[in-house]
């Protein structure tokens, strides 16, 4: 692919924006809720412990799955929208 079109550039920018958004959520659920912000969530009780513990042991993993599927769904839609699908 030698010619570089505006369409491709927009597609790539949309992809990078999407990745950026997803990675913010990725960091928030694991490093945020699971580790650094755990003291702030200490008041919210769940099953004999606090919400931060749940995020560290299960919540982050569930969020990761949702993120990866959301990204796959959005990107596959973007491929079609920009006419760049296989």
């Amino acid at each position: 692919m030698s010619e570089h079109t505006q369409n491709q550039e927009n597609y790539w920018k949309a992809n990078v924006r999407l990745i950026f958004g997803c990675l913010i959520v990725w960091a928030l659920v694991s490093y945020g809720f699971g580790i650094l912000l755990r003291p702030m969530l200490a008041g919210i009780e769940i099953g004999g412990t606090d919400l931060g513990f749940w995020f560290a042991q299960q919540g982050s993993i569930i969020s990761f799955i949702i993120l990866v599927f959301f990204y796959a769904w959005r990107m596959n839609a973007l491929d079609k929208e920009y006419g760049l699908e296989e």
Partner: protein, 588 residues
Amino acid sequence: MSQFTINLLFVGASFALYFGIAIWARAGSTKEFYVAGGGVHPVMNGMATAADWMSAASFISMAGLIAAGGYANSTFLMGWTGGYVLLAMLLAPYLRKFGKFTVPDFIGDRFYSKTARLVAVACLIAASVTYVIGQMTGAGVAFSRFLEVDKDTGLIIAAIVVFFYAVLGGMKGITYTQVAQYCVLIVAYTIPAVFISLQLTDTFIPAIGLFSEHTQSGVPLLQKLDEVVRELGFRDYTADVDNKLNMVLFTLSLMIGTAGLPHVIIRFFTVPKVADARWSAGWALVFIALLYLTAPAVASMARLNLMTTIYPEGPTANAINYDERPDWIQTWEQTGLIQYEDKNGDGRIQFYNDTPAFSDEATARGWAGNELTVNRDILVLANPEIANLPSWVIGLIAAGGLAAALSTAAGLLLAISSAISHDLIKGSINPDITEKGELLAARISMFVAIVVATYLGMNPPGFAAQVVALAFGIAAASIFPALMMGIFSKRVNSKGAILGMLAGLGCTLVYIFTYLGWFFIPGTNTLANTPDNWLFGVSPLSFGAIGAVINFAVAFIVSSMTEDVPQDVQDLVESVRYPKGAGGAVDH
């Protein structure tokens, strides 16, 4: 029927299945050998990736680590799953679009340099070999425990099984075998967990049982566990940690390392399309999560079961008599993985946290030191026995543990053999080699890799635990940043990439060796491996993330001072970014 016969039956049946698949899925071309012909369904590939990824460490060791460390060891749960988010968004779809066979293929083409390709081959082999030693040792231990042969014989059986289906079937055989192995290992992991969850909480989904009420006492399970361990001087199971910086960096190192491990990355070369690579990462994570959501439940329930076995009347009452100990303690005592010493001579098993803070209370109760040592690695294997489950469950665990170790070993061996036959022989030494010749070279290098791995598994270089840190450190500090910059930057050139990889790798190795001994030779470490000595409290196991940052920084600085990337390479970067125009994984 004896336990031995049952184990033999379960393990034998699972092996017969793997052999059958290997014969059915024999690889005929290099494309089938390296990337399974590029036609694996994304769900199927996700399942194979999950088996590839979940090693003896995930199956056997992880729950034990969490049981011992509680909240602090949540790092393994987040770290070993979060990497798939990075993989799905930053690497997998673009490398699939690139459409060649190996990771060094991409690095060599993108950074238009044979040197870059060779550095990548070296990093790949170092990371994979260190990782495979652990798998072979794990398989040897599982064999010796369940089939009652000595460890070396167990290891040789494991090597022959892997040799048969990996050499014959290549990636094609490995992929379909791994699908079967995933089914075996997930069933083996889940069934005992379901039983135990029902016993303790009346909830049959272990992941939910973890946050449910403990039936016997009527308080939440985790609260009960906190109370019991606190009475015995241990840290609360759910207690927060002080050194959060290290916890963050360790998790980050595991995540980046996961995304940079070559045997995981090459799995995404096997699906038909870019869109499939994205879905496939999601499915892999779903199949991994089935085990990873159960693991913390297994950990806390096994810890509670262990405590109530030792203190049947509760932690404030007397411990059980040594003569009345359950059978499973006797079994594991024979292996030396559980040890008992009656320090105060009362014939009971006092199991508590022997620290200065607890010494007053221990003295008041007439205790003269902790009397029981339990190896963390036996937790999952002994779990069915601790909970008094039927003997067929134990046979299932044996087959599951072996499936986990063998599937990962096969994936790693394939990554090593393709790096040698494809990148080293075809890429550098003899580019004119025929497809037949390359296929033969691939099979011979796989054979050599198995022999070396078996030898190292029999004579582990005395640093088996540290090598996993090394593998992740190498993958995080060298491979991941190089791949990511190759896709997301058109400015990073060959000099930047090579110096970046070497700098990231060099700093990480120096930091690890400083604390763990130079080349892991015991006693040669420059500084004692204690938190006081660590730079800013960063442990050597957490340094991979910093190595990655160094790699990125050096690559950008060097590239900005040297030449621009040639136009044809910039076009290559463009082409991997857009799915349109991808073919199958192409020969070249």
